[in-house]
């Protein structure tokens, strides 16, 4: 048992080292912040409380995208993906971060010069209703 605990400690230490050397390169500009109101039973949702879709232009060949969580009222973290104007998914899904942090999603298949929008779905374990204010970079 002691040996197992020791091995687990080594695993932790390795991850701490990886975390400390990690650098994040951010480019482009963030979209305007928009608020999504989510019920636990909702599916993918593009509409925001402000009335406009959250989105911006793709400006690079990157296959990544960023989503910044400005604020949220639910304890869980909703899912996010990029969609085109036809509401077709153009990226892989990513779990949004906690307040004041951003996540990087992958599988961005958009084309430079076109606008892409954010689509949000509540986490399966969301309790009741909640709101989340996000910003995104289609990159």
């Amino acid at each position: 048992m002691k040996k197992i605990s020791k091995n687990i400690c080594y695993l932790f230490l390795s991850f701490i080292v990886i975390a400390s050397t990690k650098t994040v390169m951010a480019t482009n500009t963030w979209s305007d912040a928009k608020t999504y109101s989510l019920k636990a039973t909702d599916g993918w949702k593009r509409g925001t409380l402000e009335g406009e879709w959250m989105g911006n232009l793709k400006t690079t060949n990157s296959n990544k995208y960023d989503v910044y969580t400005v604020s949220k009222t639910m304890w869980s973290n909703p899912q996010f993906r990029l969609v085109n104007s036809n509401n077709v998914a153009v990226s892989s899904t990513v779990t949004t971060a906690g307040e004041g942090r951003y996540v990087t999603g992958s599988g961005n298949t958009g084309t430079i010069g076109y606008a892409y929008y954010g689509s949000v779905k509540p986490a399966w374990n969301q309790v009741g209703n909640g709101r989340i204010k996000l910003q995104m970079k289609a990159k």
């Binding site: 687990i8 695993l11 701490i16 990690k22 304890w75 998914a89 999603g105 084309t111």
Partner: protein, 288 residues
């Protein structure tokens, strides 16, 4: 005694039930990953002018066994599996010492050995079995992922990380270890705490009530009233520790934020020590 207890517990139907449930959840996760891949293939066939076909093709090709496994470990079904494991551990293992004491079997054991020694043996054997069940389940899901999704020969892009085969094996082993650790700690705390609860059904539900429902409800309440306290309870939910690698690979996580995730494990360790001492003190005085 350890060997005997191990055989009795490991070759029990509870082991098969636990592995089956986790593997079934893994299979559902693989199905959804496969469905996501088919959705992208469908999108490719629609020829949208604002979708880069070559990049979409690369995304479709990246859906292999490695990504299926990662999707399970850090997706919804991985979280459901963890919840199910907490429930199963509670049902099958946590009330065992309480049952021994209730039906008088413990009195026979303390004639040959001490209560402390028996308690330690029981927790040790249960911990070993919890690890084995998690390891076997994840190994089976891994095999299924590779069987359905195909073997990966190149890197998988996962957030900010490019995960190769060696890194992938390391990540899976880390995940098995961290999940086992969470389960072992929750089971140990419940076993030691059982002298206070004194009701079998309640002891069986304690891992879920104490480690999921309690911090989830409090976190939900305090999100609207006092957000800093909500964050503290949020950290205590085992899903936060479970998603450590996901957060590390997808977020611009600061070192301090990463370390706060480990606080819950430290709290669980301290709780385990505390309740163990209380349990031994209580039965040291009350067990005949």
């Amino acid at each position: 005694m350890r060997k005997l207890e191990f055989k009795r517990l490991f070759y029990d139907k509870s082991t098969v039930i636990s592995i089956l449930i986790i593997v079934c959840l893994g299979m559902v996760s693989i199905y959804f990953s496969q469905a996501e891949k088919l959705n992208f293939i469908n999108t490719l066939n629609q020829n949208y002018e604002d979708i880069d076909a070559s990049r979409l093709l690369a995304v479709i090709e990246s859906y292999n066994g490695m990504l299926y496994m990662l999707n399970f470990m850090y997706g919804d079904f991985g979280q459901i599996a963890l919840l199910a494991q907490f429930l199963l551990v509670g049902i099958f293992y946590s009330p065992r010492i309480f049952e021994f004491i209730e039906n008088g079997y413990e009195n026979l054991i303390v004639v040959r050995t001490t209560y402390e020694s028996h308690l330690k043996t029981l927790v040790y054997v249960q911990s070993k079995i919890i690890f084995l069940i998690t390891f076997i389940s994840y190994l089976l899901i891994l095999a299924l992922s590779f069987f359905i999704g195909g073997f990966a020969t190149s890197f998988v892009i996962y957030g900010n990380f490019e995960i190769g085969v060696i890194m992938f094996i390391f990540v899976v082993l880390f995940q098995v270890s961290i999940i086992s650790l969470l389960l072992i700690l929750s089971n140990s705390i419940t076993v030691f705490l059982s002298y206070k609860i004194k009701q079998k059904r309640l002891i069986q539900l304690t891992p879920i009530l104490l480690f999921f429902l309690f911090p989830m409800i409090l976190s939900s309440i305090f999100t609207k009233v006092f957000p800093p306290l909500a964050m503290v309870f949020n950290i205590l939910i085992p899903w936060q520790v479970q998603s450590m690698v996901y957060q590390l690979s997808h977020e611009n996580m600061k070192m301090l934020t990463f370390l706060t995730t480990l606080i819950s494990l430290l709290i669980y360790f301290l709780l385990k020590k505390f309740w163990k001492r209380c349990n031994l003190k209580y039965y040291g005085e009350n067990l005949i």
